[in-house]
Symmetry: C2
Subunit: 494 residues, 2 copies
């Protein structure tokens, strides 16, 4: 079925000016921003799409804009992921096959820096161009290794940061193309592959001390039992939780309103951002817990805000609001730190969740070895695509740690739903303590957007990895020459 030589590779820098709405804001806000809130200058903007008339607020420019002195004051405070412009390095693969099918892949970014990932995709492109798709998927492990072990590019990784994000974008496009050629949604392609074929996609390098290929095979063999029944269960969808109600950038009124609407829509699991100010967190958590009641699930997310001792201290004071987990309490690189926090907080009934910035399978391996997390959050765009995520899903199964994917941003929901649906059907075989993040932003730009019903992801039916954006959206949001950015940059000038 698989066919064609990859004859064209395009990569584009696509940015959505979400910072204008305060969506996606997490962790410490600076005093100025805080004041803006209280003055009610920030009005609720539920939709991230930004027309020409939108207010220009604290938009931080990309590196193309060289009059930099004026803007220093906007940006000179230690903050994290405030004012993200949800963006993507967006890859399109074409083949010489006559079917006209293309592979679309992306990795998620926050605005500035997308051009750096684009540059890395170009640096890796020669590994993909002129390759026959049969040769790629016929030795997918070898192909993965080739990309991640390029003798020169490896130095600026390895398997982390920019080059690994670029690898993810490329491989996501390959998987999309493969699934399209097979005429199946990606999750179904994976579900239908036999265990040996699945394993042949995984690079076990650096994880054999925890998971050998034979152990992985046994896990997948066991997963064959009851597959069909689990597939049918998903007629009702895969459980989701929402992060859309409680970004740090939202006022209490916005928060209440969004929470009310979410409850009405059937949501039962809510995540709130914390870590900027303890009293503020207490107020916001109390507000949400009161609104959702004692039975529904509340999670908290600190986006790496704390050092280890601070995380324990802070969360001890939020324990009364009964969070299921605290997400990213500290540096994503700090395995032993997460283990220490976990040891302190699990007795208080709070689990540790992390993963969206864990840069490869070696970090996940150690988080599992060290009992550093109780919920493992894979990301479809930071790890080396499906290939590397397969290895993490299998390790999580071995340690019996539930996988609750990271999503949101742009496209992350579209992609990761495939992985978690496959995980349920073929690996974990359980829904206990499992759910997939959902954020209601930017889906309108995708050709096959997620479908949420009754707070659940409905399994995608279209062929591919749901990665394809609408061409019009891509054109409008290309940075810096798309229509949307031209207008914003012109407004900035005036």
């Amino acid at each position: 079925m698989v066919r064609g030589r990859i004859c064209r590779l395009l990569v584009r820098d696509v940015r959505f000016p979400t910072s204008l709405g305060g969506h996606g804001s997490d962790a410490m806000r600076e005093a100025q921003r805080e004041r803006e809130h209280k003055q009610g200058e920030l009005e609720r903007e539920k939709q991230a799409s930004c027309g020409a008339g939108s207010p220009m607020r604290r938009w931080i420019p990309g590196p193309w804009d060289h009059d930099l002195s004026r803007r220093q004051t906007l940006n000179d405070c230690a903050t994290q992921h405030t004012d993200p412009d949800y963006s993507a390095a967006y890859v399109v693969l074409e083949t010489d096959a006559e079917d006209g099918l293309k592979g679309y892949g992306l990795t998620f970014t926050l605005g500035k820096g997308t051009e750096v990932v684009v540059c890395a995709v170009n640096a890796l492109a020669h590994h993909v161009l002129n390759k026959d798709l049969r040769d790629i998927v016929g030795d997918f492990r070898g192909f993965y290794r080739q990309l991640t072990s390029d003798g020169q590019l490896r130095w600026i990784g390895p398997e982390k940061g920019v080059v690994h994000l670029a690898t993810a974008a490329l491989l996501n496009a390959v998987w999309d193309l493969w699934a399209k050629q097979e005429g199946k949604p990606l999750w179904k392609l994976l579900v239908d592959m036999d265990p040996r074929e699945l394993l042949s996609c995984i690079d076990f390098r650096y994880i054999t001390d925890v998971l050998t290929e034979e152990e992985a095979y046994e896990i997948l063999q066991k997963g064959q039992v009851g597959k069909k029944e689990r597939g049918q269960m998903l007629m009702h969808g895969y459980p989701a939780y929402t992060t859309s109600c409680a970004w740090l950038g939202y006022s209490d009124d916005t928060l209440k309103q969004l929470c009310t609407e979410a409850l009405k829509d059937g949501w039962t699991r809510f995540k709130v951002k914390v870590g900027a100010d303890l009293q503020d967190d207490i107020r916001r958590c109390r507000l949400i817990r009161n609104m959702i009641g004692p039975e529904k699930t509340l999670m908290m997310d600190a986006n790496q805000r704390w050092d280890v001792p601070e995380a324990v201290e802070w969360m001890s004071k939020l324990a009364e609001f009964k969070p299921l987990w605290i997400e990213e309490p500290t540096s994503p690189d700090d395995i032993l730190g997460h283990a220490a926090i976990s040891e302190a907080l699990v007795p208080l009934g709070i689990g540790i969740a992390t993963g969206e910035q864990c840069h490869n399978r070696v970090i996940f391996k150690q988080l599992l070895q060290a009992k550093a997390l109780q919920f493992l959050q894979i990301d479809s765009c930071r790890l080396g695509s499906v290939n590397e995520n397969l290895s993490v899903l299998l390790m999580a199964k071995k340690f019996e740690i539930p996988v609750c994917p990271h999503a949101g941003g742009v496209g992350l929901c579209e992609l990761v739903q495939h992985l978690i649906i496959f995980d349920f059907i073929s690996i974990s075989a359980s829904l206990e303590n499992r759910m997939c993040e959902y954020v209601n932003h930017l889906h309108e730009h995708f050709r096959y957007p997620v479908v949420i019903k009754k707070a659940s992801y409905m399994p995608p039916k279209d062929a591919g990895y749901s990665t394809e954006m609408k061409e019009e959206s891509v054109k409008k949001h290309q940075y810096p020459h798309g229509e949307v950015w031209k207008k914003l940059l012109a407004a900035q000038e005036n």
Copy 2:
């Protein structure tokens, strides 16, 4: 003394075609390469400089060259750091002060991918441009945090890979400029700073569970005692070891010849690359151990070649050659893996050394916490410059683990000598089990090259961080338009 607003920032992609000589080759060589050796096709080339008449051998092109199909066969094997073209993203800072002094900084790369780091430097540039140098060094911790916590760029790190390498290049240039303005070599600038001033350069975020600012202060206060005497000791230089004799790319004859010469030059510590083929390693290690005798020091370096169980097994078979350490036995991200290897090999008399690809202080913190290494190898260009290295030197002191810097490549010896000399005078106060790597490549391109006497680094006397390259070298080696590359690319075409 400090003066001037940074009014210009240039960054250049400078590459030396070292792959033509087999210098820097480590880990697995592919069968083809191996055959080339045996056929004697690879002649010894001690000097990395490459004239127009040099043989073109397996040169892997950068991404600018788009006829890619032909070269796939050269590059389709899982290898590590074979055929590096030692390179640098090279930053020049100019101020509006009338002294005409410039700051030079670099980060080391292996050829392809340098353009990606250059792109990241440009993305970070607005944090540096138009800043007053007094404001930068007056709140160096804040400035460090600003660079590493950029709300949008942080996502594609944080503090790892490409963006962190770019941060290093920028900050190295700032330190060079500062030291030049003070009229001191960097090590002396550091030695003369009082403890509080040194601490104000360090971001303690994510390491306070292991090292608080007060503990760091106490270490530095203790280090004040005997500083003058230690400064005088360094009249004889800081001990070095050589990696120049035993790259994997060298034939046995080359190896013998280089070893003989090194012994004649007074070298007493030698490092050999291992990990490609066990029988080959045994032969090469026996050869070297026989040549240097039982008293001299032999180290081994696997450049991340192995999984954890393999590392233990392999090194057990090389134990008879009495290596002081095995360097980088596995993934640089695998703290627990290094701890397991360490536990197995220390009883055999073999220590674990790692660090050249440890991407930030959080990883070093954990390696120390987990007793995962016996020798800590800082790198001047992968961590966030002097600032982050200071925190690692202090943590190493707390755990009483000797620091033995990584060097080589291009410029790494020039830079890191400053750090280790400062470490000896102001922090470690010991030479026991300590030495700094030395590789005799590419120093001729620097304006203030290292001076080695009797196998020791002589403390630099010129003001600055020894980062400045000769303008002629930079021009000739700029990629892809410098003279050297124009010729190579033209030869490639023919």
